[in-house]
Symmetry: C2
Subunit: 349 residues, 2 copies
């Protein structure tokens, strides 16, 4: 269909299993990692391309700048607890925060399908402004494209973010050490289940709301208090499980977590049972883990609880295994936690 003859090369990598992109290639799990490893990493390889982190840390004017981007294709566009605009702001702000950066500036690129309601566009722009104000970041540049009817899905938004690192910590998966403690800021699985409930018309006694929220202020408090954070990660596509597996694989260490310590709301647990999902694989938009040395664990937990009352310690780093996450179940059995395989919930962010 497309003429590729403007590049005199053919694709050398063993993607013969997947001549076409599947929905699962965007799901945050194994196939997405393959796509990145086989297509994007070889093309864009550079010391700064941190495929295993939420953003790139770069020199600018003698200081450290963090740069990150995400596109948002969630459907439906409006859901309990937010909309595509709140997601697009919080998601990118949170990626900056996870790198230890103070979020400063956002860009916003809108891809609108012909026929989309201008009033909805206005509503979404208004909530982006409100969310940006809350997160202390400014939307400073933008772009709008309109695609033919039937060639989009209402609205897609891309945000990119620029932040500044104002401390001397190195925060990335390679910094974690044996005995480090893993702190989670609240219950998991709500964002994915909120989207799924709307999409599938599931009804619960009370509406399940997305946990979509900015995380930067909590992170700045932790850093400001001198907590020696080794790594942070927000638990979006692929959920808590996939994030921890990525960190374990990059660090070469073992992460052991306890199922009983991971908060999951009853309604979310119930919905997961009905739908056949495991809450630790369901996407969140306001949840993160901070991995800190044992000496800073109690204080870090206190600081996190001042913003997130349900924050808790869910496990620790060991060298018992290499590049592995294990979870002790409620009945005491230990099992290996794998990365999300295939696509659990498409287009939730």
């Amino acid at each position: 269909m497309e003429s590729n003859d403007n590049i005199g090369l053919s694709c050398p990598m063993p993607l013969s299993d997947y001549p076409n992109v599947l929905l699962a290639h965007g799901g945050g799990g194994k196939l997405m990692h393959q796509l990145i490893e086989k297509i994007f990493a070889p093309a864009f390889a550079s010391p700064e391309l941190e495929v295993d982190h939420d953003g790139a840390t770069l020199p600018f004017a003698g200081r450290r700048l963090v740069f990150t981007t995400d596109s948002y294709v969630v459907h439906p566009l409006f859901f309990p607890g937010g909309n595509i605009g709140t997601l697009a702001v919080n998601g990118t702000v949170n990626d900056l925060a996870m790198c230890g950066a103070e979020p400063l500036y956002l860009s916003a690129g809108f891809i609108v399908e012909e026929g989309f309601a201008t009033e909805s566009l206005w509503q979404i722009a208004q909530s982006m402004k409100k969310t940006a104000d809350e997160a202390g970041v400014r939307i400073v540049t933008g772009d709008t494209k309109v695609v033919d009817r039937g060639k989009g899905h209402g609205l897609f938004i891309n945000t990119a973010g620029v932040g500044a690192i104002n401390h001397n910590l190195l925060i990335n998966p390679k910094q974690i050490c044996r005995e480090d403690v893993i702190i989670l800021n609240g219950d998991v699985g709500r964002h994915g289940i909120a989207i799924m409930a709307v999409r599938e018309g599931l009804e619960f006694e009370t509406t399940i709301e997305s946990d979509c929220a900015p995380l930067a202020k909590t992170v700045m408090k932790l850093i400001g208090a001198g907590m020696e954070i080794h790594c942070m990660r927000d638990l979006t596509r692929g959920g808590l499980a996939t994030s921890l597996v990525e960190i374990a694989e990059t660090s070469g260490l073992h992460i052991g977590i306890e199922e009983r310590s991971i908060p999951v709301r009853d309604q979310v647990r119930g919905a997961c049972e009905i739908l056949g999902f495991d809450p630790i694989y369901v996407a969140n938009e306001g949840r993160f883990v901070a991995i800190v040395p044992e000496k800073d664990a109690a204080r870090s937990l206190d600081i996190m609880r001042s913003d997130w009352p349900d924050a808790c310690i869910i496990g620790k780093v060991t060298d018992k295994h290499r590049r592995l996450v294990t979870m002790k179940s409620i009945i005491g059995a230990e099992r290996i936690v794998d990365m999300l395989s295939g696509e659990q919930l498409p287009r939730i962010c």
Copy 2:
């Protein structure tokens, strides 16, 4: 269809003429300006949101940083002279350059339709790398989302860019003065016509190739030589005409151009006549105007010609009228040049 009740507001602006977004709202012309003015500018208003410029100039670590973004939805994805990937790199590099910034870092966000050929994705990633290398910029962070079949159009790409200003010039429409000279770097209309020819199956004796090219090196040469550039603008959506109208409106001054001095290749002129287009409204991807004081005009032209042999002076700034562009036609008549109204060529960038 969508529930808007998570924001307790309704759209106050007079968009009653357009309850739904039209293709023309993305065309770079009057309707797009209305959309920006009524929806995005009020929501995101900040001193840095330069709706009348190609990027935002911002403080970072005591220096000036430029931040810009664009989404690319061109169709077909591969065309003579480039593909969506070369466009996505050059377009954002050029926006940085137009603000006088040295391009440093790019982000790349891919929105892939389920079923898209992985080989095409690989080809596009490879040409992005090649184009970035040529432009002296690095792709440092990225994101991939996959949307359901029928909810996208093969591939959309967003790039955002970060650049550094390493001089003391202020380069924006408000800096232009009476007697300033307008220099154009080459023939206009090729990108839009190249896309249109593929799309409509038009055949010419020789293939019309897009002019897609990076402009930053030329800009850095001009600045390095001490040229006092007042304003630059790359001539993308809406073409030469719309760019000059935007500059005239923001500056409050008059721009007078001469039709005979604007290079248009014969094939492009012929195609425009057949299709009913005016070449000065057709999009380019490697063309820009530099507006410089008369004292620097000859030297600037020489420098531009070292990279672009067809560069030429096409007009000048006066105060004869306010906020207006006029063009003296080949037969000597003077007419007002308006902004593109409606949509001439959809989805060419």
